[in-house]
């Protein structure tokens, strides 16, 4: 499969997943309406506002927040010439502005990108990844992070998080109300279905959000190949990461989705994973190497 085919496949899947999440929102609103009458729908705008406040502040200031949380040090050409050069190369390939480059003092090899748009992008590397990778691997990792910037993944994940949050709030309030409200419902089947939806939707929404994250990771791998035209660099980088067992100290779920390799997940595969299995990512990149360099 070429990187272009992989790109369009993952973009399509992101769209479908976000659409399904939107249907979940409709389903929980329907469930609340069924259980408590449509007079209770006043709940929805309040839930929207709460979900927005929870996510968009951290989205808008994601560059500053993550730098602070990971205690990353911003670097320039004089302090880390090779790293700065590699980032500059990749951003030329991507046709994007030069991002802020930072180093996180952490022996675990990892890297992340964040920022609300390409003009506020930050790409950070742990000291561990800088020690573990050669120039070509580092270029692959940088291209993956630059792909997140170009694909606006901070925004995509903020949208997914807002939707999942909205579903959680509506379902949570709905379930609580179900305990304290007594209401003569003429349709017991609808009541049962409504309750089941309210109980299951939040978990399903988190699964969907994780699925969106996995698609954005696969998309970033494919877009990285579009930038460098060298699948081997990123593939070898992922192999090095797979062989390493140290995990990032900052084991916070708040930033876990931004790392190139998940700092939280174990070996077993689950529907809550934010990243596709690293072996699968390596296999896809290897297939791109074998399909040869594209003519474009």
């Amino acid at each position: 499969m070429s990187f272009r085919a992989a790109q369009s496949k993952n973009k399509r899947k992101t769209f479908i997943l976000l659409f399904v999440m939107f249907l979940f929102v409709v389903a929980v609103i329907w469930a609340v309406g069924q259980l408590f009458g449509y007079g209770s729908v006043w709940l929805v705008p309040i839930a929207v506002v709460i979900a927005l406040i929870g996510v968009w502040g951290s989205y808008w200031n994601s560059d500053k927040l993550v730098l602070k949380m990971t205690r990353a040090q911003i670097i320039d050409h004089d302090t880390a010439p090779q790293l700065f050069n590699v980032v500059d190369e990749v951003r030329i390939a991507a046709g994007l502005p030069m991002p802020t480059v930072a180093i996180v003092d952490d022996p675990a090899p990892n890297a992340f990108a964040t920022g609300r748009d390409p003009d506020h992008a930050v790409i950070a590397f742990t000291t561990g990844i800088l020690n573990a990778m050669d120039r070509e691997q580092l270029q692959g990792v940088t291209a993956h992070e630059m792909a997140h910037v170009g694909n606006r993944d901070t925004l995509v994940m903020a949208v997914a998080a807002t939707t999942a949050g909205l579903i959680a709030i509506i379902a949570d309030v709905g379930v609580r109300m179900a305990f304290f409200t007594r209401r003569d419902n003429s349709n017991p089947i609808a009541t049962v279905i409504g309750l089941v939806i309210l109980l299951l939707a939040p978990i399903a929404a988190v699964m969907m959000r994780s699925a969106v994250s996995r698609k954005r990771e696969s998309l970033a791998d494919a877009t990285a190949v579009q930038f460098t035209r060298n699948p081997a660099g990123l593939r070898r980088a992922l192999e090095t990461l797979a062989a390493d067992s140290t995990v990032v100290h900052e084991r916070s779920t708040a930033v876990s989705h931004v790392w190139i390799e998940s700092p939280l997940e174990g070996k077993s595969r689950s529907l809550f994973d934010t990243h596709p299995p690293i072996s699968e990512r390596i296999a896809i990149l290897r297939a791109m190497e074998q399909s040869g360099p594209p003519t474009t």
Binding site: P81, Q82, N85, V86, D88, E89, V90, I92, A93, A94, G95, D134, R135, E136, Q139, F227, T228, R229, T296
Partner: protein
């Protein structure tokens, strides 16, 4: 009355499409210009690195006159080159000459170990990569523009936007496509 409304709506719709396509074509054209400007920035940067590189190599390898002269001459040629085709040819020649210089440098362990040379090597590597990536970005921009010029509906607005097909930046000789082997260290 109904006919009038329909006509107004159609005209408005047409105006929106025209505006959108006009902007699309102009944006694509700007991308091409910016892409070429980026190539030139990086070519200039490489040219600026060369005198320092030549001096450093001279210090350790005085006898490699022909290789050093080839680099100096190729550098002079690229500064005179005008237009996409000529620039691409001069660029390829300079890349080939630098490639030879780096091969020669391999024979001088003291040179290879000097901090100054290592720094220059890193800067040369990155600049060669930047030239290659800028070229790739430029060619993708040219492809996007040239495609828009011959496809519907943007093809209808080419005259209005005043854009025309642009030339690809092609490296003339396949044997010179390889960047100087300065390593990934």
């Amino acid at each position: 009355m109904v006919v009038l409304v329909i006509v107004i709506v159609l005209v408005a719709l047409l105006a929106v499409i025209a505006l959108w396509q006009f902007n699309k074509l102009r944006t694509l054209n700007v991308n091409v210009d910016e892409g070429f400007a980026q190539i030139e920035v990086q070519l200039t940067r490489r040219s600026e690195l060369i005198p320092n590189l030549v001096e450093t190599v001279k210090g350790y390898a005085k006898h490699e006159k022909s290789v050093l002269e080839a680099v100096t001459n190729a550098r002079a040629n690229i500064e005179q080159a005008d237009g996409v085709g000529a620039t691409a040819l001069a660029d390829a020649t300079l890349t080939g000459a630098l490639n030879n210089l780096m091969v020669v440098a391999e024979n001088y362990p003291d040179l290879k170990a000097s901090t100054n040379f290592l720094q220059l090597q890193e800067e040369l590597t990155t600049t060669e990569n930047k030239i290659a990536f800028a070229r790739q970005y430029y060619n993708e921009s040219v492809r996007a523009l040239n495609t828009a010029i011959v496809t519907f509906p943007s093809m209808l607005f080419v005259g209005m936007a005043g854009v025309s097909k642009q030339e690809f930046y092609e490296v003339p000789d396949v044997s010179q496509r390889v960047a100087p082997d300065v390593g990934f260290n």
